[in-house]
Symmetry: C2
């Protein structure tokens, strides 16, 4: 066929329906499957919209039949033919009641046998999938994920534009920003010996836009962190970034709650009610052992410290008397489902979070218990545990005794693992919770100084401002995180808008005046010229898309992601650079010599 | 006032109208101006939406009056008061019929005297404007530009989403791409000695998405070129990037023409008709001396070469006989407006484009001419020039004789300069033209080899494919540019979709097989697995926004642009990096020593 004529496509493959019966259609697509059956060749023809069955019958078109004999999987072909009712309907396909009898069939491009199957349940290794990402992205599930991601972005842009937010693009080649992770650096050719940094977030620019009086800003924007990668982190990631002037924490929470509710309604068809629940950081840590609690199920941490302070079990009482805690979670009705071996596995998990062990107690009939630690307790002590935990026959209690941070981490993670193990929640539930009242500062044992828990531009709550120098550990921040199904999907704060308070904050963080000036002088200057109070939030789009797509790995919602080693198996990036290029940039590589 | 209460804003300043008379409003904004008039203080209060006049009358509120006495320009304040009809209306302001009598006024943040005025006609240097960009962006014109830019982006996203395009994000940390400009490099910490490149465009990824069967892709995306900067270039710029499968050049032109027509209608309220005019590259160079002709005015280049081949003026005849050209432009009715001094200036312009001189001829009554070169021509020759150019009394002809590239450049630029000088077009006109039939390859005198005029993935026209090896200079490309008012705002091509043809193309460009494999092996591989024919286009969003905003500098439509030296006077990027950081990245700086 002439290369010039492609605009005669009449339909996409997957949109044909019974109402098209009798029409002659021209289709373009990929051969999903070919089956030969006597004088007939059946082809499943696939495009972005789905699959339609093509029949090449040599009695109808010898040309089509002869061409069809040459084709294999993933050939690109065009078919012209008539839509007919299918004799044996396939109820599993949206086009399952019809088929197209080919009048002409032309091969547009051939295909070698692909190294991975183009089907959703192909269980090939992820590295192979990433190397042949262009084939992997032919899978309907991957295309659906990319479409979902676009739907989220479009929704957000539409919602925020309607709420008078202006999308403003901020620089990618910029100055190091203070988010705390490592920056990616970009050597400058024009400015010898100098470097740009890729932004970890547009934090400073969005604050400057508030100084500009833009009032409401947003941006869906790539950000960069050179961190050691975890399962749900990428060197580059996309943020939905917002900032508003003349607002307090309630305003930010209200607007963003409305946005999220509407997003879930439009994208998942699930109606949530407002306001979303809230927990203070302290409550969340106490009840769920985490600042990103999954509230799709209960199983709160129950504090038994008071009860155990004087109990007969020395491991528990000593822990409490040395400033530690004893807490437990209660797994309703699962005593019989957890064997000693299962409990051993849970104990291993608890140990990875620092716990020294995992004690347990199965509740039996008549308030009796089955537990290795039973012998250390008086009967009254057992009864008071059962009373406090409201444990009943068939329940199991799992205890950790340790310093509060270990108790929280161990039981917090166990809680989630057990819920997953026993399917204790509905997968199609979207449970948001705002976490508020974070501490402003954390003491860093390593550097022996305070670091900002959120970032240095977060405002303390007004009544704590005076404690910034006298009692920094107990200053609360006007900061908030939004958590969905146990993932932190966003966070933000009301910012400092006073030059003096911002200077005090840098002092509290141990910055010298010189450091402050060099890094943030322009922000302190800006704050001198009429800065409105302002605050904002940023959402991780990748993670949000992952959750709404029902995936467990952000690489599933990114077209061309990097591996855990920050490489791209498809393009082989990063790669070596040639000397001439490095010379132009006034740098050379400085590799560790092999001798050392 | 308590910091916590900002959500009581009832209106934005600029939206108040006569219908609000009698209401009590709460406003937040910046003090544009304060005037004291006896017992009254007048304040122009500004926010993003405009300005409203506030009156502080001590008889109405002593508190408001006392506070107002303390404030200066750019203070951030909140005012509560009643909207009243204004006694002396100001027809130049949308809020000019009303004013607000302050009942309370509170200072939210103070301001030092700003180093630049917050008004559109402030004639301060651009470097000062960039250093205090947060103040510069308070200007209504700059905010209007940012809003216009968002409007364009939103329009494009809406239009393309409706046309079944999927927006897909492609990587920023990637492999060097082959657009021909220098890449920005990013050293990798995890992969010692290796570098990512920032993309000059998402070209390869968008083609891979077509291999994936996504069918229609777009993205509004930052791209990066480390070029020596011109007035309308930035190290990072934003591209509206599209790609479609199963299309030919007509399909791409048709869809994008519709998009641009609708954009101009929605954003500028100007109705254009389709199809947009088209010129081949050859026609455009011949008639306008440029491949980005401004068609808002005529003044075509007129070829007199045949006429001059045997004329008495040796400069002209020799040029023609040595393979050169003699061309002129005719400026209608402007003979009297161009003094010898003016013509001297035009000649200087022509010389900057390589012309050795600029000959001229003013047409007088009765087909007589006034021209220094008149003496070299016979009367018949003069008459034939006048006939060919259709020149009449009062017109002036400007001639350049040289090799074709110099004639085109010199007259092409003169044409534009003269049109600007004499306002030969309506500023509110949007004149699009498609340029087609570009050569596929250009011979590079320096490297003595052919280079791709567009990029190496552009498909030759089908009938020229065989000439790729035998006659590369005469192969036409399936490439097209879209030009608006003399600016190239976009360009694209139908791509090669055959692995063999793509290999031939790399060969024609002088790439060794090893180079091809290393740089583009993954693309050639991808083309083996069922690649659809595809093509696309990319628009420069910055330049498009600049034109629609009526600006002459793209920095006017970018919130935080870089200077010509690729620096940011606001943040002082790029800056030096500390040694520890460079060590982690396995690089060191390699500055030229001062001795050399």
């Amino acid at each position: 066929m002439a290369i010039e004529k492609y605009h005669n496509r009449s339909h996409m493959c997957g949109v044909l329906r019974e109402s098209d019966i009798g029409s002659t259609v021209t289709l373009y697509g990929w051969v999903q499957k070919r089956r030969d059956l006597g004088g007939l060749i059946f082809i499943d023809l696939r495009d972005r919209t789905g699959i339609i069955q093509i029949i090449c019958d040599q009695d109808i078109s010898r040309q089509a039949f002869m061409e069809a004999e040459k084709i294999g999987s993933e050939y690109v072909v065009t078919v012209r033919g008539k839509v007919e009712r299918r004799t044996s309907e396939n109820p599993n396909m949206p086009t399952g009641t019809i088929e197209v009898y080919a009048e002409t069939l032309d091969i547009i491009n051939e295909a070698q046998t692909p190294p991975i199957y183009i089907k959703d349940d192909d269980e090939v290794s992820e590295s192979l999938r990433l190397k042949y990402r262009y084939l992997d992205l032919r899978k309907p599930s991957m295309q659906a994920n990319l479409l979902l991601r676009q739907k989220i972005s479009n929704f957000v842009r539409f919602f925020l534009s309607n709420e008078a937010f202006i999308e403003v693009e901020t620089p990618v080649l910029t100055k190091p920003t203070p988010e705390g992770a490592r920056d990616y650096l970009v050597p400058s050719r024009v400015n010898a010996g100098k470097f740009y940094a890729l932004p970890q977030s547009p934090q400073l620019f969005k604050q400057l836009l508030m100084v500009s009086g833009l009032d409401r800003y947003f941006q869906i924007v790539k950000c960069f962190r050179d961190e050691d990668l975890r399962a749900d982190r990428q060197p580059e990631f996309t943020q939905i970034d917002c900032e508003m002037s003349f607002v307090n924490q309630e305003d930010v929470i209200e607007l963003n709650s409305r946005m999220l509710k509407k997003m879930i309604s439009e994208i998942k068809g699930v109606e949530l009610s407002l306001p979303f629940p809230r927990l203070t950081y302290k409550e969340s840590m106490e009840k769920y052992g985490s600042d990103k609690p999954d509230l799709r199920f209960e199983m709160e941490l129950i504090d038994l410290s008071d009860l155990m302070a004087n109990c007969g079990f020395k491991v528990f009482s000593d822990t409490v008397n040395n400033g530690g805690q004893v807490k437990c979670i209660k797994v309703d009705g699962k005593a019989e489902n957890l064997s000693r071996k299962d409990i051993g596995k849970l104990e291993d998990i608890a140990k990875t979070y620092g716990a020294k062990g995992l004690a347990w107690m199965k509740v039996e009939i008549d308030n009796d218990v089955n537990a290795p630690i039973k012998k250390f307790f008086s009967s009254d002590e057992i009864q008071s545990i059962l009373q406090k935990t409201e444990a009943e026959n068939g329940d199991i209690l799992l205890f950790v005794a340790d310093k509060p941070s270990v108790v929280a981490a161990a039981l917090g993670h166990l809680r989630v693992d057990i819920a997953n193990k026993f399917n204790l929640y509905d997968k199609n539930t979207y449970q948001f919770v705002w976490i508020t009242d974070f501490p402003l500062l954390e003491y860093d044992e390593e550097t022996k100084r305070y670091v900002a828990m959120h970032h240095p531009f977060t405002s303390p709550v007004v009544e704590d401002i005076e404690k910034l120098t006298s009692d920094p550990a107990n200053v609360k921040a006007q900061a908030y995180d939004i958590v969905l199904n146990g993932y932190e999907i966003g966070g933000g704060s009301i910012r400092i808008h006073s030059s003096d308070l911002q200077s005090d904050m840098f002092k509290a963080l141990g910055f010298t005046e010189e450091e402050t000036r060099e890094k943030f002088g322009f922000l302190l200057d800006a704050f001198q010229y009429g800065t409105p109070p302002h605050g904002g939030i940023a959402f991780g789009l990748d993670r949000l898309a992952m959750i709404l797509a029902g995936e467990e790995n952000i690489r599933q919602v990114i077209a061309f992601p990097k591996t855990q080693n920050a490489t791209c198996p498809l393009t082989d990036a990063p790669s070596t650079a040639d000397q001439r290029q490095l010379q132009e940039l006034y740098i050379k590589t400085d590799l560790p010599s092999i001798d050392n």
